[in-house]
Symmetry: D2
Subunit: 361 residues, 4 copies
Amino acid sequence: MPKAAVLREFGKPLVIEDFPEVHPGPGEVLVKIVAAGVCGSDLHITSGEDPRTPIPMVPGHEGVGIVKELAGPCFDVDGQEINEGDLILWNRGVTCGKCYYCTIAKDPSLCSDRWTYGISRSSEKPRQIRGCYAEELLLTADTQIIKLKEDDNPAVMVAASCSGGTAAHTIELAKIKPGDVVLIQGVGPVGLFLAAFAKAKGASEIIAIKRSPEKEPLAQEFGVTHLLSLAETSREERVKLISDLTSGRGVDVAMEAVGHNSVLDEGLPLVRPGGAYISVGFGVPAPAWPLDTFGLIVRKNVRFQGVWVSDVSHIRQAVLLVRNNPEAFAKMVTHRFPLSEANKALQAVADRSGIKVIIEP
Amino acid sequence: MPKAAVLREFGKPLVIEDFPEVHPGPGEVLVKIVAAGVCGSDLHITSGEDPRTPIPMVPGHEGVGIVKELAGPCFDVDGQEINEGDLILWNRGVTCGKCYYCTIAKDPSLCSDRWTYGISRSSEKPRQIRGCYAEELLLTADTQIIKLKEDDNPAVMVAASCSGGTAAHTIELAKIKPGDVVLIQGVGPVGLFLAAFAKAKGASEIIAIKRSPEKEPLAQEFGVTHLLSLAETSREERVKLISDLTSGRGVDVAMEAVGHNSVLDEGLPLVRPGGAYISVGFGVPAPAWPLDTFGLIVRKNVRFQGVWVSDVSHIRQAVLLVRNNPEAFAKMVTHRFPLSEANKALQAVADRSGIKVIIEP
Amino acid sequence: MPKAAVLREFGKPLVIEDFPEVHPGPGEVLVKIVAAGVCGSDLHITSGEDPRTPIPMVPGHEGVGIVKELAGPCFDVDGQEINEGDLILWNRGVTCGKCYYCTIAKDPSLCSDRWTYGISRSSEKPRQIRGCYAEELLLTADTQIIKLKEDDNPAVMVAASCSGGTAAHTIELAKIKPGDVVLIQGVGPVGLFLAAFAKAKGASEIIAIKRSPEKEPLAQEFGVTHLLSLAETSREERVKLISDLTSGRGVDVAMEAVGHNSVLDEGLPLVRPGGAYISVGFGVPAPAWPLDTFGLIVRKNVRFQGVWVSDVSHIRQAVLLVRNNPEAFAKMVTHRFPLSEANKALQAVADRSGIKVIIEP
Amino acid sequence: MPKAAVLREFGKPLVIEDFPEVHPGPGEVLVKIVAAGVCGSDLHITSGEDPRTPIPMVPGHEGVGIVKELAGPCFDVDGQEINEGDLILWNRGVTCGKCYYCTIAKDPSLCSDRWTYGISRSSEKPRQIRGCYAEELLLTADTQIIKLKEDDNPAVMVAASCSGGTAAHTIELAKIKPGDVVLIQGVGPVGLFLAAFAKAKGASEIIAIKRSPEKEPLAQEFGVTHLLSLAETSREERVKLISDLTSGRGVDVAMEAVGHNSVLDEGLPLVRPGGAYISVGFGVPAPAWPLDTFGLIVRKNVRFQGVWVSDVSHIRQAVLLVRNNPEAFAKMVTHRFPLSEANKALQAVADRSGIKVIIEP
């Protein structure tokens, strides 16, 4: 009987429980989870801040697994056949394929019926594992799958399924051009993915702003050319650096992966006329922010773009990005825990003591 | 000696004065003004609210004229030769062609050295007419010219040079697709141009919101399918109409041409997930607006785009739009005054008693 | 027992046959066909030129029907609930929603498993109606549906499901900007839809070239500003007209809806440097065409774009376009036949005696 | 008196001649040439195959120089002030800033009045150096300048002004997305720049096809993941490799930098449905190529895009690309000659014995 970590009460520790064995029906895929990522949003989920979350449930929306059982032919989004023993990753969000967003807008991130493994499905009625903090997971027939390569490292690749996909979506909307000067606010997993993608889009300078004063040797490996900490530089210094790098204009594109109004205060004025500010860090409601519409948006012809989650095309881009630079992404993985220590894994994220925390069931 | 209306003191009436005769040098074009449009921003200019304005100066940035004198071959932006007697219109903004915005960003609206006839050039040192509230105007060699057709109506066409161009720029950034449902806030000249352009981009429904309760038969001729007045409908009624037209999603694109925070309050929430809100109405600074970044931008994947002025490609689009439907645009012209009554023309705009007010020198 | 026209042998007349009654399973929709369009490609299909076609089969890929029976809740692509008695239209192509083209490229027109009602499904094994030349049609659960309005005219609307959708796809790729000068080669149903869409995208001049010398009063209603017949004008005259309209540059966008090499000969050189030539008319293989790659493509920085079929987003755009101008589209319908005269309907298309021929079962 | 290499007769060796000293007028910049690139097209120019070339003339359209004399303030396209002693590079093409292509299409590569240093200006009437195979060059006031950094290597950077700019333009039109599989035909300077840019746009696989069987260690440094030589692989092997890398679909984008019909034969069929083929290699007329419009363009929804030269925005992108990876680009420079050996430099390119050949006057 497979085990999973269950959230029975918001704000309380997860409990390891046994679940009934299941077998796939047509199109379904039973996977043995080999790596589950702990996402920052898992803290919101387990604390009860995310309105989508029912209880009891099994958290974990980032997962990589090995196919354990299939019921007939099955293909990944690239058209490759999936067989038992294959290493796979999947779109954490399951979309309907029929609504306005799936068919007309071609923007399935916004699918009206989108549901997410590890976030929006209960583990009861029927009693079933629907999250990645578990030994096994049965993927529904409408789950979109990406087949990995044998030598892809599951723990390194798993972040592609959420942070990486969301960063790819952000980059798609950012429309960076070769030679652009880019600002990234925040250097957590999403911020580092943003840096790697910005470099992969040909940005000539990538300035990243971080909160803590500690050295961050990783940022450089992800393409950051100037790493500034809020603790060690003044706002004037940061403004001056960007002015110097851009002949006084401001950055072509700024992206925030923090989610506090203070980053809007600093970031939006740093965008050059005609540039773009992309906000992806706000995962839960925040207080209203006093926007100078004339000065920051209209007079400067600026684009202020929000980004919500990702679809499988973005996740695939993130997988390919990780595969192109596995050494750097491997360094992002700072903590690994067995399933039995899922609560410690959550704590490590809460403490901000690491970058990417992995559960290996 | 040509006459012009001169602003000698902010907030005071214009004074009709004689100016010395001038003759064109190489590349310059001397035009006899046949129609000058009074733009809403002329009120800000004459009152001293626009920081770009020196005094004394001749207002008027919208103009159509007849070529009176040339000094050598001259061509319009389409490559057509310009001759004496031709009816022409020009880009009110003169740009440098050399800066980052002109050459790299290809966004000359943002040119660092852009100056504007009727807004940012004094009429002294040397004493010279540099605005369209005048009998004659000498166009500099770097002014971009659009040759009109003999049967184009100057008074009808003149608004293309500012309101129309700005609307074309807005539409370029709005990225309306055939079948889209579009909301326009404000039905002044810019709003009506926006409606005509939205129709010309294939919008299936164009909802316009206006302040005054009076009937507005013009809106329909410009493509508006649903005209709602703030005075006669409640906000709930407007929300319901848009919900009914869009299966509850909201509009694909909303554009505001008003410039008050109240239109942001109403308009931004009416945009569907994945849609766009375009703000062009803010011509002068306004109080900060409390933005719900999570709820209105990030969670909905919305684009909030500002628009500043226009370049000659936009003005050309506006000219072609007017030419395709001259009957409707002719109705937009509600008042005509001789140059000697320039102050009455300004008053007619201040009174909001008309839509488009023209001075015919 | 519903009747349908069956193609039993390529090149032979269709035979009216009775089919067994069917009832919908979950997600399926049984429709009573009220209008079936005869598409030019139906001639290729019935003659055996289309390699996708099995026999026996029921032709007809353009259809509008009334919902006769449902098995549970069902929604259209806009999220509107579909009920018995509703007038509907559907995507003739059924796509998998899972392959690379459906999920990653977001281009379901290219879906590897796309199949089409009236083209690629046999009427045997099991014996079943799978085309629109029939009294009834059972739509599969994965068919994408567009709910029509009560006052939409089925015979007028039906062409939106193929010619209109394909034209919308063509226009999406054509990227016409307001003010563009557009050339359309061919004024059959696709050509007329292209004209209407080009107008709806803001084209300032729409030149259409047709083969036959007869008057074509319809073209003007669809936005064509200059209609030239190959029989009555010389190539030099056509070149000169376009040169005059474009200051010698050539058209911004040319689109061919004919499918002969002769139209490439004439059309591609008429595109201005930096412009686009869009080819949608080639539905079956044609002899190789000698392309001057340097002179027509590279030196002129030209884009030569092919277009294959359409997806439901395009069909929806066509429905909205028809609804915006039903009077013009109604005139496109020149012939109507009962199902029993399906062979006469095909003959009317073969004779080129009409524009749009409809079967009303 | 500055020396320059003069082409007095097509097909004959260049002759070193003295030219009169010149001094800059307003806006002009006198530069001491420190590196001039020998472009493949210089062979066409000196042999008389390029119809734009007058004689006598000084070849050389790729140049980097040190500012020797100025007549007043001067700024580069980024807004940086240019002073004596600065290292600069410039747009080899001088455009009018006023025509349809410069103002409306915003595509100055196609400017009707574009002329090019080292290609289209005679060195007589007046006798003056107008190419880079020279000790000095007077840049006109309308030449667009890019200021380099002190530590930029002139010989390495000079290719950015033509091959690099043209590659940047190609990439702009190629629209590569992160994760795309890209094919490049040809690994000369343009092909290597294309590879570097494709990598900088996030391509996951870059397949390059080259003619000669020799090892090409450079390709890998520029991002090529699979280098295939025509001499050592069969067409079937190349097709199979691409099929294996793309689940049988074909590449997302193919770009040719060769200019022979044989590359079209091989390359266009290798593009996946919905993909793009970009042709930049055809610099002079070539025989017609038999295009299967249905099979390769329409049925596959493929885009076939030509590319002509570049504008200063592209050249700036190339400069930034070189600066990001100077080690790799330095290896591209295989030969250096003094001005007195300009004919040997041309011969080295004709022999294909090197990649990039530089003249250092």
